[in-house]
Every structure is written in C-alpha cells, then in structure tokens.
C-alpha cells in the first residue's frame, strides 16, 4: 500500500537523521523556529556533511536510527528529548511524559498519532518541517549530485559564494590527514592522502584537510560536529604502526591522521576560533542517538539563548562567548563531549551482566555467562549511554511494547527490567570505543 504524504515525510525522518534529528524532534523544532527563526524568515538551516579518512560506518549507523523517543534524553538531567524540545518552544519542559511507539504489524508507523495525547500534533507537522525547514546540502552517500556537479557545489561552498549568508552546521565524519603530513612513512609528495572531488579537467582537487579548515573557520559555520572515533580523536587511521617495520622509524600513524579538534589546534587563530565551535560525538561507530541528542541539545540552546555575553542556553549546553554561541565549558568534558550524552559508564546497572557482577559471577571464556571483566571489558571507565539507550531498537523501554510484539529480549534472568542492548548483551567485552586513545590504548580487546 502506498503511504500518505504525511507518512512519507514521517519516514523521511530516518533520512533526516542524516543530520541527526528524529522526525519527532524536527516537528517540535518547527514550532521552535516559528517562535524565532535563527536562519531568517525564508532560509533553512543548512547542514554540510563531509567524509574524510573514515569507513562511512557512522553514516550507516545513523541511517538506522530507531524512532522511539521515550527515555531520558539528557542522562542525569532527567530531561527527556521531548521535554528538551518543549523547552525549545519556550515551555516549561514538563510536557509529554510518554510518546508514541511503533505498533502493529510494522508499517503502521503513525498508529499512535491518531491516539490520545498531543502526539498527533507533532506528527502532523512533520511534512512542513522536512520539506520546508531542513536542508542537507552535501552528503556524498545520500545526495543526488555527483561528478562535476558535486565538485562545483563544494568549490562554491569553500569559497563561500553560495553559503556565507546563512548559518550552517558542519558535520565531519573521518580523520584529517594533512597533505604535508608524512606520517610514519616519510614519503613526501604532493598527492593528497584524501581528496574529495576533482574538477572536470582533472587538475584541481578538494584536499580534505583544506576543505575542513575552509568550512569550519567561516562565521556562517555555527557548529562543528565531528562524529565517530576518526573525526574526534583520530581513531583507526590514527593507530600507530610499530617501529621496526621496514621503512618505519617512528612509532606513528601511517598518515598522521588526527581528530578535527586537534587538527584545528595547529592552524593558528583561524583554527582556534573554529575549535571553539567543536562538539565531539565519538564512538566506533556512533549510536545514532548520541548524535541526535547532541544536536537536539545544541539546537535547543541555539534557538533559545539570549544574546548577552555570558548568557547560557536553557540546557546549559551553549554559552555566549565573544558574541557567539559556543559550547559551554561547563557542559563538555575534557574530550569535548557533551557530559549529558556521555554521562555514565558502560559498567553499571544498565549492563545486562551487572546482576552477574553483583553475584561475583565472571565469564572466563567467550560465550560463557557472567560479567566480562576478566575477558577484557573496558566498561568500568568507558563513558557512553549504550546501556540506557540501547542499540538498534533494543531500547530498554521496548521490553514490553515492541513493534513486533516480542517482549523482553534483553532482560537478565530473575530481574524485573530489561536493559538496552549493546556489546555486552552479546557477550562482547566493551572496548572503549567512545574514549580518546581508542584503539591503541585499549588492546587487546578480548583476553582469552
């Protein structure tokens, strides 16, 4: 059966998640924009999403966003996503205790929209949001254009002939490798480690590092959001080659790959100014929710923050410094992650194996029941919301009301509540993929 226009756009919410916002979030944001559109009366918030030294795993992950928005949005703050959005509306943050879930045989995503409560109102507005508000301008895996068309578009963006008038959010997926950075191999040359497009004549290329700098430094760029381990801390491209391999004299990354924040450190005033706008969303890959929550929190504050120097947004995420809304130092940790999103550790009550830990039951071989501590689990110090939010629809709140009608898929034996599904659910030790220094600092991942 065909879907309606409303349903079409509702499901496009999954694609809108390419900018990290669920469809429901978008709806409320529309209303927020109606209160005062920061992008001007007719302009749309633009998002430019570029790929460097990466594997596209984060895009792949984000496109699988699960749409249930129940649960605590900002860990520790007792603020749900919807409450946060209500704040954006100028409300008290007290609306909507619960929200729609998927019901029935699967395709009927709007079932709850016709039910009780305010839910229907949110869904009804989505069409306008996606079509009229959001503007994902560049994302090589999704966009229609390619070849010279795409090259020219990005060229204009870098030279600001098209984009300098309206603010945009820059999402970076992938590590930055400097063209002149020889890494471990000391093989100087003028060929880029990574280029993202070539002009029609094949003579001029977009070097990725130069493109990041060009797009991040501009005033119109209101936020720089590196996602995934590669873009945040260098990740796998930043993993070190052991000294002693033929040709390698120093223990260093092959290509000198680094995260965006560190990359900007080395680029003078321009870089440091751009650095102020960075909010990291690490993970390998990221859980779509981490990006959603980070961006929602950012948007809520960006929309509502007062202009006076030193003002802080309603969620405390942004602060006016030097006339610009930048991440509030009190809201981010030393790795530039939002504390609210990377709040607790993987180890703890949200881990399905925590009950075993409490009973001193430990696994000694893969595939065995028990806490994974002695198999090399890094959950004790790894900050993430893997457990509270769960992955791929394994939200803990889905224990009873799941769109396929199967209950309690991640409930530890003898315990009343389900946990969010993630690595430890499958018996895999946490490998600390949200922490700086991953992977080199955390190997071996499994101890036999």
């Amino acid at each position: 059966m065909a879907i309606t226009r409303r349903q079409f756009v509702a499901r496009l919410g999954a694609l809108a998640s390419a900018i990290g916002i669920s469809q429901t979030d978008l709806t409320k944001l529309t209303e927020a924009f109606a209160h005062g559109d920061p992008w001007g009366a007719s302009a749309k918030p633009k998002v430019i999403w570029i790929h460097g030294a990466e594997c596209t795993g984060c895009s792949t992950s984000v496109l699988g966003l699960f749409e249930d928005v129940r649960g605590t949005a900002i860990e520790g703050g007792n603020t749900t996503t919807l409450q946060a959005l209500d704040l954006a509306l100028g409300g008290t943050g007290s609306t909507v205790a619960d929200h729609r879930t998927l019901h029935g045989a699967g395709l009927n995503v709007d079932a709850a929209a016709t039910g009780a409560g305010a839910e229907g109102v949110y869904v009804a507005n989505i069409a306008d949001v996606l079509v009229d508000i959001i503007d994902l301008k560049y994302h090589e895996t999704v966009m229609g254009m390619g070849g010279d068309l795409a090259y020219q578009w990005l060229k204009d963006a870098r030279e600001a002939t098209d984009l300098n008038a309206t603010p945009y959010v820059l999402v970076v997926e992938g590590a930055v490798q400097l063209k002149e950075n020889t890494g471990a191999w000391n093989s100087a040359g003028d060929v880029s480690w990574c280029s993202i497009g070539m002009d029609g004549a094949g003579t001029a290329e977009h070097d990725f590092a130069e493109t990041v700098l060009d797009l991040a430094e501009r005033d119109a760029c209101v936020a720089v959001v590196p996602i995934g381990q590669c873009a945040t801390y260098g990740g796998y491209p930043g993993a070190k080659v052991p000294a002693g391999v033929a040709g390698v004299t120093t223990n260093a990354s092959n290509t000198g790959a680094q995260g965006v924040y560190d990359f900007l450190t080395d680029h003078g005033t321009v870089g440091v100014n751009a650095q102020l706008k960075v909010i990291n969303v690490p993970g390998c890959p990221i859980n779509p929710w981490w990006l959603v929550l980070t961006l929602v929190a950012w948007l809520v504050d960006f929309v509502n923050i007062a202009g006076a120097e030193g003002s802080v947004g309603p969620l405390g995420v942004l602060k006016i410094v030097g006339g610009k809304a930048v991440p509030n130092a009190a809201a981010v940790d030393s790795f530039q992650r939002l504390k609210a999103v990377y709040s607790g550790t993987v180890h703890g009550v949200a881990c399905p194996r925590y009950p075993a830990f409490l009973q001193n039951k430990f696994a000694t071989r893969p595939g065995a029941p028990g806490c994974l501590k002695f198999l090399g689990c890094k959950g004790v110090f790894t900050k993430s919301t893997c457990g509270p939010h769960g992955w791929n629809g394994q939200q803990r709140h889905n224990d009873l009301d799941w769109d396929q009608g199967v209950a309690a898929i991640n409930k530890p034996a003898g315990f009343a509540t389900a946990r969010g599904g993630h690595c430890t659910t499958a018996g895999a030790p946490c490998m600390a993929c949200t922490e700086a220094g991953y992977p080199d600092s955390f190997v071996p991942f499994v101890r036999f």
Binding site: R11, A105, A150, A363, A426
Partner: protein, 703 residues
C-alpha cells in the same frame, strides 16, 4: 530551462566525486565523439590498515578490520576471523565449518549459524541500501529538495521517473498516482527495511553495523541466556517483513528497470531509452550492453552449512550457500577456463600489481600472503593514478560481486538464457499455462501499489509509456483472495469499482487466479535474457538478496492469499538458519590456543560487493604480516603492468556519454543553478551508473 542541443564531447572528462557509493572515487575518462575510449578509475584515500595491524594480537584483527568499511564490516570480520582461525588450527584456510571430531577443526554449530545470520542480515541491508539509496537516484529524479538536488538534466532520466514538480509522492485512495511516486515511496520504505535488518542482526551482534560478537573459535553469545528463544522469534519476524519487501518490491523493480534504460541492458533484451531525444522514433530498441565489463568472474564463496567438512575442495561447494569458483576467458558462449580453487591454486594464481598505484613497487605482482607490509609512495611516478592495487587471478582482472556469484552458482545465465527460469527456488513470478509457457506476471507477486501506479501511469504518458505497452490486465472476475484485498485496503468491492476504472484490471487480476499481468514490460521480465551489462549486475544483486533471505528464515512459500491471518512470517517456510539455531545444542565457542611459531594462512568470505580475502602470518603469537584483497580492489583497480584495465574501467570503455548545451550558446557545464538543479549540468551520469552498479566501496578497496 532552455532546451539545449547535444554537443560533441571529445577530450578528457573527469568525474569525481563518484557519489552515492562508499568512499572517495573518481574516474578520468578519455572521450572521442561522445564515446568513452579510455578510463582511469582512481581511489582518493589511503589509511594503511595493513601496517598498523602489525605486532598486534591476531584476534584484534577481527575488530580492526571491520573498521576498514562501515558498510560491510561483517564480511571483514568474517574473513579476518577465518584467517585467524587458519593460523590457530580451526580451519584449513578459506572458511571455518562446523566442528568435526575427525579433523579436530571447526567451531560449534551455534557459532556457524549465528555468524551466518549476522552476516546475511548485513548482506540484505547492503543490497537494499545499494539499490534504493545509492543507485536509484541515478535513474530516478529525487524530490526537488536537498539532498537530492541538484540533479542531472531531465533528458538523462526516463520520463516516467521525473519528479514532475512533485515534492513528495502523491497518492489517491492509498495508492501512488504514478510510477515516480511509487518508486519514491519504496525509497522511503527501504529505509525502514534496512533498519529492520540491523535490528535483526543486532540481536546476536550486540549492535550493528559493526558486530561485536565474533571471536576466533566461535561467537561470544551466551546461549544459556534467558532471552535466547525470544531473540530467534524476533529475528524471524523482522526478516520476514524485509523478505516480503524484497519479493514484492525490490526484485520486481530491479528486474523492470532495464526496460526504461535499455542502453544499459544486454542486447538480448529490448526496451525504451530514457531520452526520447536519443531515439526520436520513440520505439522499442535492443540493449547496448553498457557497462558489460571484463566478463571474468571470481567468488570465494560464503555461508558454511552445518555438517562434516573434510578437505580442501572436493565437497566444498556442497557445504557453501554461495559457492567458490572462477570463470575467465569468455568466448561468446562460455568460458575457456573455470574451476574451484584450492589452497595451492590460490598461492600460484593470486597476485596484486602496483605498477599504476601510489605504492612502492618492491612487492608488485607478488602473492599477497607473502607481502610483509604496504608502503605508500606518493611521488607520483608517471602513470600512477590510484591508491588501489590491482589484484589479478592468473594474470587476469576478475569481476567480483553478486553478479559474479550468481553466475558462479549457476543462478544467473550470462549466455542469453532465461533469467526468471534459471533462478532457483519457489519464488514464481511467472504465471504459466497448462503447457508450462509463460503467460505473464503473477499479480500477487508485485506490490499492489506498484501495480496500480503502473496502470495509472498510462493516463499520463502515451506510447511507448502507455498501459498497453507497459502493463495490461485480465478479465473481470472475483476469485481467490477476494475478501482479503479489501481487508488490506479497508475497501469494499463496490468502493473498488467506484474508483478509477483504470485500476480495475489490477483488482481483477489480483482476485482471479486465472489472470495475470501482461504487456510489454511484463513480456520483458518474463522473457528476460541474461547477459553482461549494468542491468544484469543490478538484477544479480536483487536476486541474491532474495536468495539470502530464504537461507536465513526459510523458503518463500507465498504468495499466500492476503487475509485476516496474513502475516509476514506465514509467507516463509519454517526453515533456514534461524530454524536450525533454534534446535542446535552445545556451546558457542571452542578454544584454540595460539601457536608460538611462524604460521601463515588465509580466510575468505564474500562481502555484499564481492570476494574478500584476508592473508595473515603470525609469529610469537603476534601478527607479522596482514594483507587484504578486497572486492572493490578487484573491481575498480587500476591497470596492471601489461596496461590491462580493471573491470570497472573496461565496463566504461565503449559506452556513449551525452552532454548538452543550454541552447543559448553556453557550453555544457558552464552554468547551472546549483540550488534548484536547473540548467545544463556537465555529463557523467552514465559513468556514475556503471560505477555504482559494482556497488563500490573505496574504504574497503584502499584500506
């Protein structure tokens, strides 16, 4: 927009970035009088996985190599796991099968099945994503908004696949108003499908896209956990919904697409060109075989079956769902050479050439298992143009991927044989008469929305896009499933009949067991000849997706009458790996100690986009050498030392490429409105289509 004229293209044309693939790829084309005469496909990113794996614990390679590619991490995990298992004694290289006491090798049955399920779930995700979200926008104009704008000039698309100023699909009475709306609706629906495949896989993987549960010797899943049975039930439910979509939407559309882009189909089929300007008579033409490629195929095979596996090759293809084999030197009707490779053959025939790649050439032409590291050399010696190496089998470039696999399996004919009757299994799209002749398409085998949209399309455009040419229905009669269609739509028969008369034949067909869909499009599908072309590659992928869904959850037993008891699961037999897992006993892991000495081996698997091999040497328990020979490296590789082009390069050469001016004297590419997508775009979409048909993944290819 001013209507421009086709212009002569001669010289160099750079198409970079090739978008809607994974990673950084471009192609430098030599064009003479609008025909491609040369192609240099180049990859634009290097990270160096083969070097930073050195000195590490072998088991960590399973996690590391998944980060080679976030689109197909599980195949890397699988190949890596098999490679590690080859050096710890759990297999004889290639694949790891169920534990066999006679050989002392293998992993527990549960591990084999869980590996297969996670792996196949990702396959299905990748194939659906490729067709709808990556490839389709090169054939279908997206809605006129970002991120689909700007797009290419209208003339590059089939008139029935233009957005027609519609921002979102239009529907009336619950059905798409036209073919464009139906296809865009599927695009959106496919987003849900790919998510469901992730949710299914994550039940055992912990999370997707990258699985956490693979470990050398088995999997980490605790099979004694309380939720084990519920997970299996849920897996089947999730995958059955995906399977229904694959059967009724993905496969039919993939089969039909060539009809509207006939130049990209093989010469055994006939259809309509997208641009009436290209064929002013507007009539049916035979395919031109754009994108045919090198016609050499290689597959490592994948998905071990349960059972006792003994030696290297004699029974391997009875033990693999997707078979191992090679085919090369096509002579017009068959291949001069073919076979199933054993370990000695791999060591003797497999090489990687770096003559035209940005690497130090010390190991060019060597067997990857003997290469100690990969040294970049960006000094750009003349003729070097890519970060990809050039894999060769017995000196030949080989195409890998679902098309190659389906051919090696014998599921897809490339010799002009019938596609619909060669593909095995119970999925019967064709309606047959008493003598077994194909009458047309079983109306229950394509989605109702697609059927209605095709019929409605007839009201919009005339020949050759009208209903008589695209689809014609049968007689008026209410029969099988009469009540059920109403159930689905919530309509009575009277409401049906009061609706647009043009739908009646769809309704009638669906309700009459003796009727079928006919017309030129249906004839095209029913009589489809297999061959070598861009479209054959897309069809092979869709059919493989259908095959794998059935391997996971059981054979498709539909189409069942749609009724009150209709469920997605009821359309599939109670079989497949998920059924086997529900009755399997024992552990999920078998321990193999890591040997202290110098040991080499390799593991292979099939990524959604082709044959994948990992080659490992360990010493003192640590990785001493690690090389990956990756699908897109096979497909999109540069030339070798004999200047023989790679498969993708060969696929582009000889193809026509069109450009238009704007009719005002401005040349192609000079001016276009990048915001609205109007104006005269530079050409290159033809190259995009061919490149995308390989489903290239550059992060994989240059690791």
């Amino acid at each position: 927009m001013a209507l421009g004229n086709k212009v002569n293209v001669t010289g160099t044309l750079e198409v970079d970035p090739i978008s809607r693939i994974e990673g950084h790829l471009g192609v430098t084309l030599d064009v003479a009088n609008n025909v491609i005469t040369g192609a240099n496909v180049h990859a634009n990113l290097w990270r160096g996985f083969e070097n930073f794996l050195l000195g590490r614990e072998p088991n960590d390679a399973i996690t590391f190599t998944q980060r080679i590619c976030g689109v197909c991490p599980v195949p890397h995990a699988t190949a890596s796991m098999f490679a590690v298992e080859s050096v710890i004694g759990a297999n004889d290289s290639f694949h790891t099968f169920e534990y066999n006491a006679a050989t002392g090798k293998g992993v527990p049955a549960k591990a084999v099945l869980i590996r297969n399920l996670i792996y196949a779930a990702e396959f299905v995700m990748s194939h659906i994503t490729h067709f709808y979200h990556l490839a389709a926008p090169s054939y279908v104009q997206g809605p006129p908004m970002a991120p689909w704008t700007p797009y290419y000039d209208d003339r590059y698309y089939s008139p029935v696949l233009l957005h027609g100023s519609k921002v979102v699909p239009t529907t009336t009475g619950g059905f798409s108003d036209d073919l464009w709306s139906a296809v865009i609706t599927q695009y959106v629906k496919a987003l849900r499908m790919r998510r469901l495949t992730f949710e299914a896989g994550a039940l055992f993987a912990g999370r997707m896209p990258m699985t956490s549960s693979f470990v050398a010797g088995g999997v980490t899943n605790d099979s004694t956990e309380a939720n084990w049975a519920a997970k299996m039930t849920l897996f089947k439910k999730l995958m059955a919904e995906v399977g229904e979509f694959v059967v009724k939407e993905y496969v039919p559309v993939a089969l039909a697409l060539g009809f509207l882009y006939i130049d990209f189909d093989n010469s055994g089929n006939s259809g309509i060109m997208p641009s009436l300007a290209a064929h002013p008579d507007g009539l049916i033409h035979a395919g031109k075989g754009f994108g045919a490629g090198c016609k050499n195929f290689l597959a490592w095979g994948a998905f071990p079956a349960l059972g006792a596996y003994v030696d290297g090759t004699t029974n391997v293809n009875t033990m693999l769902s997707l078979k191992r084999g090679f085919r090369y030197d096509w002579n017009g009707t068959g291949w001069d050479a073919s076979g199933v490779m054993d370990k000695a053959a791999v060591e003797a025939n497999l090489t990687e050439d770096t003559t035209h790649a940005w690497y130090d050439d010390a190991f060019t032409g060597d067997y990857p298992g003997s290469v100690p590291y990969t040294k970049p050399d960006r000094s750009s010696a003349a003729g070097e143009y890519s970060w990809m190496k050039a894999p060769r089998w017995n000196g030949r470039p080989m195409e890998v991927g679902p098309f190659a696999r389906m051919a090696v399996n014998g599921f897809y004919p490339v010799d002009g044989g019938s596609v619909v009757t060669t593909f095995p299994g119970a999925v019967a799209y064709a309606k047959l008469d008493a003598s077994g002749n194909v009458l047309g398409l079983d109306p229950r085998m394509i989605s109702l929305d697609l059927a209605v949209a095709l019929v409605r399309q007839s009201e919009i455009l005339g020949a050759p896009y009208d209903v008589a040419h695209i689809m014609a229905g049968g007689a008026v009669k209410v029969g099988v499933g009469g009540a059920s269609i109403n159930t689905v739509l919530g309509w009575t028969e009277a409401e049906w009949l009061a609706a647009n008369p043009a739908w009646h034949n769809v309704y009638d067909c669906l309700n009459d067991p003796d009727t079928y869909y006919g017309g030129l499009l249906v004839d095209y599908i029913a009589n489809m000849a297999g061959g070598f072309s861009t479209m054959d590659r897309l069809r092979g992928r869709a059919l493989e997706c259908l095959f794998l869904v059935q391997e996971m959850i059981g054979a498709y037993t539909g189409p069942e009458d749609i009724g009150a008891t209709y469920t997605f699961e009821s359309q599939f037999a109670d079989a497949g790996w998920i059924k086997q897992l529900s009755t399997a006993t024992g552990a999920t892991y078998r321990h193999y100690p890591t040997p202290a000495g110098l040991v080499s081996g390799f593991g292979v698997s099939e990524a959604p986009r082709g044959a994948l091999g990992h080659f490992i040497t360990i010493d003192a328990g640590k990785i001493k050498a690690y090389q990956c020979v990756v699908p897109t490296t096979w497909n999109a590789c540069p030339k070798d030392d004999a200047d023989v082009e790679g498969p993708m390069e060969q696929a582009m050469i000889g193809m026509a490429i069109d450009e238009y001016d704007d009719g005002l004297g401005n040349p192609a590419g000079a001016e276009f409105d990048k915001e609205s997508g109007t104006g005269v775009a530079r050409g290159g979409v033809e190259a995009l289509r061919v490149a995308q048909s390989f489903d290239p993944c550059i992060a994989c290819a240059v690791h």
